[in-house]
Amino acid sequence: MAPNETPLSGTEAPSKASFWYDPKVRGVLYQIGALLTVGLLAYYLMSNTLANLERQAIATGFGFLEKQASFEIGESLISYTAADTYFKALLVGALNTLLVSFIGVVITIILGTFIGIARLSTNWLVSRMAAIYIEVFQDIPVLLQLFFWYAFFYEMLPGPRQALNPMAGVFLCNRGLIFGVPAAHPAWQYMAIAFLAGCVAVYFIRRWARRRQDQTGQILPTGRVGAALLIGLPLITWWLAGAPTAMNIPALKGFNFKGGVSVSPEFAALLLGLVLYTAAFVAEVVRAGIQSVSKGQTEAAMSIGLRPGQVLNLVILPQALRVIIPPLTSQMLNLTKNSSLAVAIGYPDFVSVAGTAINQTGQAIEGVALIMMVYLIFSLSTSAFMNWYNKKMKLVER
């Protein structure tokens, strides 16, 4: 159809278009078609699945969660025995996933920021080293890195008797990383409470200081006051509670260490692999964020008389963070998702516990659905946070 033959189709009443050529009708038909296709496919798969399940006499539904799991889990944050239910076993797995992701995220952000800044260093050697680190660790599959660190703990480190002792109270051997901690004392709990109280106090002081600055123009050194509160309050509490200094140092007894806190080789390898891999990506994110703030911003901030600390806090960071935070969150999410590779090196994370449950009950659909659901909850809550953050940080244009 040549375009010049229908010049009036837009201006004349659309009812003239025949029924099949009406875009609205077509749109509805396309949608019905798509929904029907998806529905039919789902129905076909469902009916096959139900027939197969019946034939193989596999139970359906989530009733198995109530049954006894009867398998042991190597590491657990809550008390768990083989006599507990599948639900509790899965909870243990989910908590382990959360633990490794949380610690991993904290260390990754610190290490990644450090390497990202090193990449921008004016020192040629330091910047080259950071570049090599980023390139090497990005380009090797994370699973291979996990295997390497796992082998590192089991094969290359000596047994407990010849354990490496890099620092007083820290031992590294094929049973994992064992280090001394302060001996149990009520003072530590009081200090934690004091620290939390300090955080709350700092929050209110900052709010008050901002309001005062808006009204009177006077600036309160909130940074210094806050630091003093956060460090001082716990220290005073520690002193008031009797200043305990006793340490719980691990000592070699027989074939293994007693006392202190020990980190299993599986956990250590998983954490090390995930952190080193993700930190390479975070370093790139941080570098891009810092480079995105033009030099003129710093110069302008200095020319209106801000001190270096204020330049960083009030001008550079708010702009750099706007660029950094979105890709940073997606890297953190990647770390959480990659922690599912724990199953390959035998750390009991959620996927690994669910895998065991699938093998024992045969209820593969429910098991895989649970895995997907748990990770979806992580991802969707993170993206909800991201949307909120983006809205809050969005440039308000005139």
């Binding site: 229908t6 020192n123 593969a364 990770y375």
Partner: protein, 365 residues
């Protein structure tokens, strides 16, 4: 203002001070330009001094390159012998020993095709047909059963060919699907849009491993009785479905980068939706997203290593099973370093290519 400067007739003859040019100048400017940087430099050099000599001794001086596992146990250094002794198993897995020239040729073809396609002057329609032909020939080489080649079951495929197969086929098959999903997500029709959004967000929210689990334990339940699909194909489908969601997001970025005028112009000359997309929007949008697509190829290549978990013998799994052999137990570091180097070389090459492409394409817009 220029003229007001005092004349310096001999400026050309005065050489810059020796400490600001040449090696010393470079050192001063790049390594010792402040007390903090000097400290850092010394620290890094000290770290080199502590780590490099022992590593060189381990990897090169005290190492064994052609020996048995027993001799290695007595040596202090690295046991690289594990690589030459098991190279063919690591690279080709359980593929019959006499027929291993076939996957070798297939890999060589794939690599040369990839290298040929990286030059932009070769980006013509013929390239598309060359790829189709090449992939068919590679398939025949691997599978056999034609032209007097013995037929090899896919369950025997393994090692590097499997890794390359999963990643290259994964990306090629995922790309059209990803484009369709991206277009669906931009669609004005609410039902189609929400189907695509749900699919993309669902897949991107879960780890690949859960999809691989699904392919290995749930997928067989979906099929009618008596029908079975082999494990490699199931894993391949999982990888395709996974990669498609990521490609969809990349392509969406490209679509959003198109200005509204392009759509309006297409509408003004009377093109319908399919024509607008095929002739106007996609050629431009896909050009923008070539560099991020290469990044997706890189991560697909790395992610194929996860098939280890559902017991397919890819490059990583063959290496691992060598390490389970009592004759070679305990040399994980050497074996893993070798495999890591294969992955590194491939990924590094691709990421360099992506960066180069980004610079070249940047001027086009």
């Amino acid at each position: 203002m220029e003229d007001a400067r005092p004349q310096q007739p001999f400026a050309d003859n005065i050489k810059p001070p020796r400490t600001s040019v040449g090696v010393i100048g470079w050192l001063k400017a790049n390594l010792f330009n402040s007390w903090f940087n000097s400290l850092l430099t010394l620290l890094v050099l000290f770290l080199f001094y502590k780590t490099i000599p022992p590593f060189v001794r381990w990897a090169f001086i005290d190492s064994l390159w052609m020996s048995t596992g027993k001799e290695c146990l007595a040596a202090d250094g690295a046991c690289w012998s594990i690589i030459p002794a098991n190279l063919r198993f690591i690279l080709f897995g359980f593929y019959p020993y006499e027929e291993q020239w076939r996957p070798a040729i297939a890999i060589a073809m794939l690599v040369s095709l990839l290298i040929y396609s990286q030059y932009r002057r070769n980006w013509k329609k013929s390239l598309f047909y060359i790829w189709i032909g090449g992939l068919v020939v590679m398939g025949i080489l691997m599978r056999g059963g034609l032209l007097g080649l013995t037929s090899i079951e896919t369950s025997k495929w393994g090692g590097l060919p499997l890794t390359l197969l999963l990643s290259v086929f994964g990306l090629t098959a995922a790309y059209p699907l990803g484009i369709v999903l991206a277009l669906g997500r931009q669609s004005r029709l609410p039902a189609i849009r929400s189907l695509c959004v749900v699919y993309i967000e669902l897949i991107r929210g879960v780890p690949l491993i859960s999809l691989l689990f699904m392919s290995s334990v749930v997928f067989p339940l979906f099929l009618p009785e008596g029908v079975s699909v082999n494990a490699i194909l199931r894993a391949q489908v999982a990888i395709i479905l996974f990669t498609a969601a990521y490609i969809a997001e990349v392509v969406r970025g490209g679509l959003q980068g198109m200005s509204k005028g392009q759509y309006e112009a297409a509408e003004a000359i009377g093109l319908n939706y399919v024509q607008t997309m095929r002739l106007i929007i996609l050629p431009q949008a896909l050009k923008i997203v070539i560099p991020p697509s290469v990044s997706i190829l890189i991560s697909a290549f790395k992610d194929t290593s996860l098939v280890v978990i559902i017991a397919l013998y890819d490059l990583l799994k063959t290496t691992q099973s060598i390490l389970g052999d009592p004759r070679w137990m305990g040399f994980s570091a050497e074996a893993y370093i070798f495999v890591a180097m294969i992955y590194f070389v491939c990924c590094f090459y691709m990421s360099n290519f992506s960066r180069k492409l980004e610079r070249e394409l940047d001027t086009g817009l």
